[in-house]
Symmetry: C3
């Protein structure tokens, strides 16, 4: 087994946004030349997270944000007195920064409708970072 590491960096453009980073992750897997193993993704930033979600219908990203804003509404948290982003921290904690996806035949083994989304709950940011740790074997 061997290890390949890289990072994905990209800007976000809205205050709250799901950004499809599937192609960036696929590029990292291709670059690693690992044939079989795992791709562990980790979003840095305590107001960011990763979510596997459908991508065919772009409305799902809006549904997800609307749902989370209903469950964890802005403006009612102790932390808002410090930073006014308590809801973003709580949502990021619940949704979580890491995801481990298998690699089969040199590719991310997502099913047809699964894509990888970076969730920015406190954007926009000029630069967000996802660390990529790939482990596995050659063909």
């Amino acid at each position: 087994m061997r290890l390949f590491m890289t990072e994905l960096t990209f800007p976000t453009e809205r205050a709250r946004e799901l950004v499809d980073i599937t192609e960036l992750a696929r590029s990292a897997v291709r670059e690693s030349r690992v044939h079989s193993g795992s791709c562990a993704l980790y979003a840095q930033g305590a107001t960011a997270a990763l979510m596997i979600q459908e991508n065919d219908d772009p409305n799902i990203a809006l549904d997800v944000l609307e749902c989370l804003d209903g469950l964890v509404p802005a403006g009612r948290w102790r932390h808002d007195r410090v930073d006014d982003n308590g809801a973003a921290h709580i949502q990021a904690g619940i949704i979580r920064p890491s995801e481990t996806i298998p690699i089969r035949d040199g590719r991310l083994a997502l099913s047809t409708w699964q894509n990888v989304f970076f969730c920015d709950f406190d954007g926009p940011r000029a630069r967000r970072t996802v660390l990529v740790t790939i482990t596995g074997e050659d063909a």
Copy 2:
């Protein structure tokens, strides 16, 4: 360190269901003959997820489904106009498709009351798939 990969396949029987797949996962670990390491499970399908949960009381699975249906109710999402399963997608995204469980002494290191459940939020399906990626060392 070495790598062992397999997949678990099984049907689901209800529209919404938690299926205990602990014994299937344990079989994969035994087959791998890995003594120490990790077992990464990954549920394919954008309306499916994995959850570690108590199994002794079968009512907990019903409690979990009732809770999720209260938090993310069916029938009120943009995506429902396309597919009528928006809630299933959102629930799957929040609960997540992956889980990484340690292997100690050749066994999944779950504690006494922890079992592994496959969550089908949009069933029944003739065939659901969980990919298993085991890494570790022999005894």
Copy 3:
């Protein structure tokens, strides 16, 4: 690549509590002497979980508990007739017991405000356990 395993054990002091275990996890990484790779943490106990969250403002832990208690209130679940801790099980299932954090330059690659919290939803307990599985390469 090589494997290093250990466990973190600690008491919890309240019925419901987020305990910052970042320094314990960092010690395990130092002890492993792994320079590059991953640290997989796994909380045993079906009423416990792990959450990456900000630590600078201790009020965020209270916000998280208040939020979860609003979303999954105590006292209304089938399982309460058995054990009176249904909400603790459901919350632990949603928040999840595992987290995989990259290791870079011999250190956990958390960003500035990300810390690792053990969530006890059914404490206090004299001894809680987090299993640590580190894989990676030397410098």
